[in-house]
Symmetry: none
Subunit: 251 residues, 2 copies
DNA sequence: ATAAAGGTTTACGTTGCGTAAAGGTCAAGA
DNA sequence: TCTTGACCTTTACGCAACGTAAACCTTTAT
């Protein structure tokens, strides 16, 4: 039983273009090609296509699918694991992003004046009001609005939690920095721990941490007087520069 | 305070190429450009870039981000919250992907690989039946992941049936092996039954069984410490070696 | 016989940059 | 002051995984 390219396409749900492309990259070649150049596929190719589609739905790259299908049994393990690791890392990344958004939301509520409870109460209220009125129809449709209300309750709790965590980390950072700034005999270990704390704090709002970016931010701490002022005020004069130097040295 | 393109890049973690590209498509234009053509950014652009990156992480297309930022007269809160919801949804999606890969890995673990026919039989069947209905619909095509998840899920359930049977057999195998391992007076008959159970279990995934292959697998059980660990953990220290010896003797 | 339906290759468009290539600009040290 | 060397510029090709014509040939059905 031979299938034409269109029959194949309809059976599997892909386009004929896709099938020709898979032929072109030697991922899935027709069983036969007639005199006129028409492609014909047998059940063997149907099976193979199912496998391809299966892995494709798992977001494997076609080149990886090539390898998977080519390797009888050996490197398939490592490929799967590599992919698995990538996925897990991706999830971590998203987790940190979620924290970042939570943090940003909290931050934009004005961190100084209101208490946390007031802050979140107000936010909650406002959010319910504003829920519907923001994007254009087009974008809303595209990215889906059905699940918008689902995560609400758990999110309220989570965001308040992580916000408090973050504040706690910063409090400790300031404390340490203050002490460190007053010490006549400054130890390397203390500096390192301060940098670690700062990194930890940073990661509440930074999705992707890199030493480079960390140092870049450190430079900004003295380049931008708003930051200098902030740290000097909280942890004593010179604290901002001390923090910067520590980061540059140990981040 | 103006930042050079490199400072911007380091602060935000993107490449200078990206910044030039964003300038090119008018997504993020520098605050100033000097006589030499150098780009300089202010804190306004830093903020905007952060927003851009937020949406980018959510797989928004840059053209859509354009629109979003343009219509951002509304409240930041709403946008942030939409970020959050989308992130949560994305995490769900990745979770399902992780499970799917885990599942696939499970089949491959210990060479208990299902044949492709078994593996995709259900998947293929459903495909052929449902033909158009799965991928043909455009609604869920672009960003909707529900369909994909469902497809995976249905496949998973089908395979899970036989998978559960397998697990049941394995459970019994482990149980027997555990008891056998604790006995001071080990009977040949017990060993034989364990080997039979193991064979039965194997045949869920091996279409063609051979004593040779069985013994080969047994050797691997102590050659690969993951398997050694697996059986020793489940059935007591020494269980892996016991299983191997039994297989070598009676398979 | 004619038209509709389906097939072919060729090739450019898409998205979001990476990566040279070929070359100006600027701050700093000898 | 002059020369590095780091940093900046534009131009332009390359990538994945196809979509989408264009221009044309083959098969099938009436």
């Amino acid at each position: 039983m031979l299938y034409s390219i269109k029959q194949m396409a309809q059976m599997s749900g892909v386009s004929t273009r896709t099938l020709r492309y898979y032929d072109e990259i030697h991922l899935l070649e027709p069983a036969k090609i007639n005199e006129a150049g028409y492609r014909f596929y047998s059940t063997v190719e149907v099976d193979r296509l199912q496998q391809i589609l299966f892995y494709r739905e798992l977001n494997f790259k076609l080149s990886d699918i090539q390898k998977i299908l080519a390797s009888e049994n050996q490197s398939i393990q490592s490929i799967l694991h590599t992919h698995y690791d990538a996925l897990v890392e991706k999830r971590h990344h998203i987790d940190s992003l979620i924290k970042a958004v939570e943090h940003t939301i909290a931050y934009h509520k004005g961190e100084i004046e209101m208490s946390n409870e007031e802050k979140f109460a107000a936010f909650k209220k406002k959010r319910v009001e504003e829920n519907e009125s923001m994007f254009g129809e087009e974008i809303r449709e595209k990215y889906g609005t059905e699940t918008v209300d689902e995560a609400n309750k758990s999110w309220m709790q989570m965001s308040e939690e992580s916000y408090k965590e973050m504040q706690e980390v910063e409090r400790e950072l300031i404390e340490r920095l203050k002490q460190f700034n007053q010490q006549t005999d400054q130890q390397v270990e203390d500096a390192k721990q301060i940098v670690m704390l700062h990194k930890e704090w940073l990661q509440y709002s930074w999705s992707t941490y890199s030493s480079e970016a960390h140092k870049g931010l450190a430079e900004m701490y003295i380049a931008d007087e708003r930051f200098t002022q902030y740290y000097d005020e909280k942890a004593g004069v010179g604290a901002a520069r001390l923090l910067r130097d520590s980061i540059l040295a140990y981040a």
